[in-house]
Amino acid sequence: MLHASSGEASDRIFYYAMTVCGFAVLGVLVLIVYQLMLRSSLSWHAFGFKFFASQEWDPVNDRFGARPFIYGTVVSSLLALVIAVPLAVGVAVFTTEMCPKVLRGPLSFFVELLAAIPSVIYGLWAIFVMVPILTQYVAPALTKTLGWTPLFSGPFYGYSMLAAGIILAIMIIPIISSITREVLMVVPQNQREAALALGATRWEMIRIGVLRNARAGIVGGIILGLGRALGETMAVTMVIGNRPEIAKSLFAPGYTMASVLADQFSEATGDTYLSALVEIGLALFLVTIVVNALARLLVWTVTRGQPARGNV
């Protein structure tokens, strides 16, 4: 009653304006889904489910199959996880449980600085620094020791699944590490004290009191990293070799769903060709949505009720 009626009218306008902005977020998601489905329908009607099973990628004859790209995305992302997870968790454990308090801030700042480097710069560095190092030192050593396994067989020309996996690993370490750190920090202090009081060494305390409690959240962070790796485009496109083949060896070049879009979309001629590329985009979109939703859920179950960024 104290409010003037003009105030009420403008309040209502303000409310509607802000609601429009809020709903725009939902609208964008709907727009993405709608556009991807609309533009890929041609390919969907032409190939159906066979699109995901077929290995053929022949723009000249308008025959398209996404299997090499799905394979490349899965293998490069898994390889990245294998490399990144131990490193990222190690860094998180060190910063929260082991290192002197003064080092904590700078250390997490530096690791997060890795996340601020644009993908294209990772790619540039990978082409001119990492790939030559791999060719000169790492690949010969791998051939000598593990060359008998199919994973490291064949010649190494630099641009390969291995190079893509390593650069991806470097790129997803910050996200896994920072989520793990957040999760470790919300493990109650008395869990640590209880373990120590029972005579545990520091490592035993971390293993029993901390890591075991934070398991679900760490897995969430890892899945979030996986989501990032699946959709990562530029750096991978620049070092994976861009060849639509399915090879067992990590030394062989490959192609990912994201990199085929970056590489071919702007030059795609013909409606079916473009439509097939959009369908790859749609598949990539759906996979990352599911992966991300799962990760959020897991992280949320651990940090629930606690401020996500607490006592740094």
């Binding site: 294209v120 560095w125 530029m234 620049m238």
Partner: protein, 309 residues
Amino acid sequence: MSDNAAAITLHKVPPISLRRRFVDHLMTGLAIATVVIVLAPLIAIFGYLVYRGIGSIDWAFLTQIPRPPGEAGGGMANAIGGSIFVLGIASLIGVPFGIGAGIYLAEFGRNQMGNAIRFTADVLNGVPSIVIGIVAYSIVVLYQKHFSALAGGVALAIMMVPTISRTTEEMLLLVPQALREAAYGLGVPRWRTTLSITLRTATSGVITGVMLAFARVAGETAPLIFTAFGNSDWSRHLTFALFGKTLRMPFLDYSQPTAALPLQIYVYAISPYDEQHRLAWAGSLVLIIMIVGAVSAVRYVVRRGSFGA
């Protein structure tokens, strides 16, 4: 007496075995090793960037446009200008929507609808940028019938909104309820309270969110490939007569394909010419300086303001 002595010996803690102590040290060593391994690429990337880039950043680099492939010299002025232009368009669209959505979430979003929007924003954050590029291509490029700076701006704007809305919400919720109530008590309408009291108090935090979103999209390449597309020249030139001479002035046109720094780095990195590799390194250094500059500016503002991130 003897009972007491027995009790004391019972409570004596057995020494930690050699094996357990060894494992403890081993694990500490491994953890330190992971830190070294993770920080090594960071140092290598920054070191190499400065080493290769610093010598090439000169007046020509900042003011000239690229020469034809294979020729020495030239610069990336059009790419730097184009990048700032595209980012400007993105901010113009993304910032108001992002802050608006943040206000909705903080002030009116304590319900199912708010939760749905929050979840959607988090999900959007994880959508690969190349997919956003496809969408911007479908709604702008196909409509305009050619690549344009506007399409690139729309793609980046879509990527800015989730980050801005979530940080804005967080910052607005930090503002004490009592401040809002004080304003209501004085008869200030709700919209004035939100804009001039709540949002104003949280300004530094909101700016942090905007700059973080800005830093995140500034280096994005993938969504620009088939939206802004790239350009070896300025997107347009204005010609006009002055004192009897015809002057050509570079001009940025929102409806034309435009060069952008990350895009140009990509093209140069995979080109076969050394001269272009040189420009790619220099361009990367400029890009990193832009991004780190934005992030440091944020830290400076936040430290001075009343709200920490």
